[in-house]
Symmetry: C2
Subunit: 240 residues, 2 copies
């Protein structure tokens, strides 16, 4: 995530959740997120860490036409390659802006890419995303990013999708902590999350069993539901 607008609190981020859910469907886990300011070195350091630590790295933000859009420069500099005008991107932008006043200096910025990059189609607003190696440079505006992700669906190598089964109860999480802990300990290949809430004047929690094995997640969630009901709380399948 690249952008002073997130770090200043001006803009509520929507891309972490959107990317996480899309990756789950591809069978890929989101393991780390960094939010950095519009500064070449901060972006480059984050990208270099993420691209070398994980299978894939995604950036959102900073690929538009204005002076604060420096993601392409930062990624090229991190990779040690020059920035070039990508001929296909230029052609796309020429067509897109043909009846909107044509290309100008700002619009042409959006045709720039690190040398060796491929384009990611943008069905919403012309200017393409960029793939170079295992790095994907996406838009900052969430519905434009959504269009780019749509085009990437099924093209990345993933494992089995992560499945979540949620149950909810008006039980204080401090009352069911031991039930959750022993269920997680007893079952290899699952993770159980506990998410407390306060609603309708009562405390409660949603308990989420995550696994790549759907049948296992379902059966662990069923066991949890039985134990929480035995402790005296009604359980709602699907969560509260």
């Amino acid at each position: 995530m690249i952008g002073d607008e997130i770090l200043s609190g001006r803009t509520q981020d929507r891309n972490i959740g959107q990317l996480a859910r899309w990756l789950n469907v591809q069978g890929i886990r989101l393991k780390e997120v960094r939010v950095v300011p519009d500064e070449i070195e901060a972006i480059g350091d984050a990208v270099n860490h993420l691209r070398t630590s994980y299978d894939y790295a995604f950036t959102t933000g900073g690929i538009g036409p204005t002076h604060d859009d420096i993601t392409v420069d930062a990624v090229a500099s991190a990779l040690g390659v020059p920035v070039m005008v990508h001929p296909d991107a230029r052609a796309i932008l020429e067509r897109y802006y043909a009846d909107k006043g044509g290309l100008n200096e700002g619009r042409l910025r959006m045709a720039r890419a690190p040398e060796g990059a491929e384009l990611i189609p943008n069905p919403v607003s012309g200017a393409p995303g960029i793939r170079i190696g295992n790095i994907f440079l996406m838009a900052g505006v969430p519905h434009i990013t959504a269009g780019m992700l749509e085009g990437l669906t099924g093209t990345l190598e993933g494992g089995r999708p992560l499945v979540s089964v949620t149950i909810g109860a008006f039980a204080p999480e401090s009352e069911v902590a031991e039930i959750l802990r022993s269920a997680e300990k007893a079952n290899e290949g699952i993770a159980i999350g506990s998410y407390p809430f306060f609603k309708e004047g009562r405390v409660g929690g949603n308990f989420v069993v995550r696994s790549e094995d759907e049948a296992l997640a379902r059966s662990v969630a069923d066991g949890l539901a039985r134990d929480i009901e035995a402790a005296g709380y009604a359980v709602t399948d699907g969560g509260l």
Copy 2:
């Protein structure tokens, strides 16, 4: 930000924006965010980087009563200090749970703190936050974090608050990019952000001038407004 629930896309983060806005009022800039999973080493690495790179480091999440709440252990391990039961935290929890069934193993987890820590009052739900050195361990549930931040207001050393002045226009950002770029270049001590949108069937942008100098931010924004109007677009003070 600590939590599988953010990285799985289950929970929409609210704490980045909340913390950023609170810090602005304290005269402190949020410079970097990392979102990491519920894993001791990942949390410890992030905390060690952030506490040594910046004046203050804040964590949110992972200080509740359940097995996946491991922030205290991770921070203690990162600092090389033992985890202890904090006597004041234990007393707070004993009072809080006196009419709610008393302390149990899960609830007692919330009295644990790295050795040498101080407590941050929690006016909402009993279990306190924790301060150790320049690290602040806060709740994951946003309205509980809000209560903790309220209690910390005015206690941290900050500079001048960052001021933002926003103007908006139904102008494609690619048409005004050069105006924005030259205004930023001509004025030391300001940063200009450009945030495009699509609404009422038209493209436009909000343009945000940020500075610690309010008069400068105002005068740069006024200059931008004049230039954008001279380019043929109506400008709305305060943004669209």
